[in-house]
Amino acid sequence: MQSRERISKTLTNTLALGVIWLAAIVTVGALGTILLYIIVNGIGQLTPAFIFGWPHGVNMEGGIWPTIQSTLYVTTLAMLITTPVAILAAVYLAEYAVQGRLVSTIRFAADSLASVPSIVMGLFGLAAFVEGIGMGFSVIAAALALSFLMLPIVMRTTEEAIRAVPKYIRWGSYGLGATKWQTVSRIVLPSATPRIVTGVILSAGRAAGETAVVIYTMGTMINAPVLPTQPGRVMPVHLMLLAQEGINLPAAFGTALLLVLMVLGFNLTARYIVRRSNKGMQR
């Protein structure tokens, strides 16, 4: 009797673990399929002419440089807008805040912002920045809308980074007579910088891939914007339009591959920074 139970116990265990392995394999397999498919179909497109050329012709032949410039421009601008506000907000939450209704509200608001469907954010950007303030379709309108999307992410990662700084470092600083701000600005933040930078870069990767937010704030015109008041077409929007028209699939694959590489680049850079800082922190 006992050995039958043991056999069934072991059998269930093996089967269940097999299923769990299967889950992991399916997940990794899904990633692999998507990446492989895009790489295989897109790699042929990655010529310098494609990356640095302009689209022309009936079917958008040529290159996608204006979309690359638009993407980099709006992402950088959004980063510049979000980072100071998010860091200072996180400093408040981590160092100054008293647990109470205000802090609860702020956290609820941050979580809500993080969960807003991006198309709602896009319509918000349209109503508030493009039409409301009258910026028209422009890089700055898109950057502002994107920054609302990035704010909760950077706030959260910065707050965690600040909290991860050991308390004894602060005590040492206060013990030497520093004010709170001096401690925060000269001790805590510098020590948390790698993690903060990681958070910013990861959120930038998210911003670079946004479609719905940008299409209603930056427009769809092929343009390489120089001033932030100009419109442009970012890579995800270009991919969407190419896919919808369905006429120039090779260019679509090329755009998809470049976009994935860009986001991958952001992700890998962020990891690299964390890994390097971890090594540095090990004594």
Partner: protein, 278 residues
Amino acid sequence: MTHRRLAAVLLVAVLAISHLTGCVGKATGAAQTELTVTGSTTILPIAEVAADMFHAQHPDLRVLVAGVGSSAGIESVVNGTSDIGTSSRDLKPEEKSLGLVDTPIAFDAIAVIVNPSNPVKSLTTSQVAQIFEGTISNWKGVGGPDLPIGLVNRDEASGTREAFSKIVLNGGAFDPKAAVLPGTGQVRSVVAVSPTAVGYISLGFVDASVKALTIDGVAPTEKSVADGSYPISRVLHFFTKGQPNPLSKRYIDFVLSDAIQQDVVRAAGFTPIKKGAK
């Protein structure tokens, strides 16, 4: 940190102000060097190539082209956001009194396409209407195999849809269960892959991956479109508010010139408006 934030705020403020003054500058009518052309996705390829060639000939002038749908194009020229609104459909009755001036720039036929493996080759206009209204929902109803029809429609922004609705359905309603796709190429690629699919696209985009049906006994060719015997055809329009302004006129004349008409329009699969046209 605070300084950086202040700088960011100042930067935004300066840019916002400069943009507003920039707007004022444009409104006071400095010589126009930038033309905005918005509208039909069908006309988009012609407009874009023409814009490129125009810019090559006049490097100081730029034409910005966007393809958002015929209705959006008409609306944007009415409210002044664009100089030229392109449309692959005629004006609706309520749009006729808005003071728009029409310059036709090409003919286009709408082909009804099916998968190459579909044995059906020819239909009447009324059969097509019944299919797209949903009354006939199986291929055996028109002499084909016993399979449900995979109906593919265009989005409501599409001028092609509008024109098809007017010419074939006579204003009747499309089957709401039909798949709604936002682009010509998508319709074509879906029909090319699914044996039971049927859709409609501009004749210019028909290629070897799909089969265009003969309608009422007339096959869609450039000749049958130009002489009017093919039943499902339409005019492609450039609309302006009132007579075209000087820059618009230059661009429109360029589009009507032989360089564009005989080469680009034909290459896009449309029929030139002038030579040999009605």
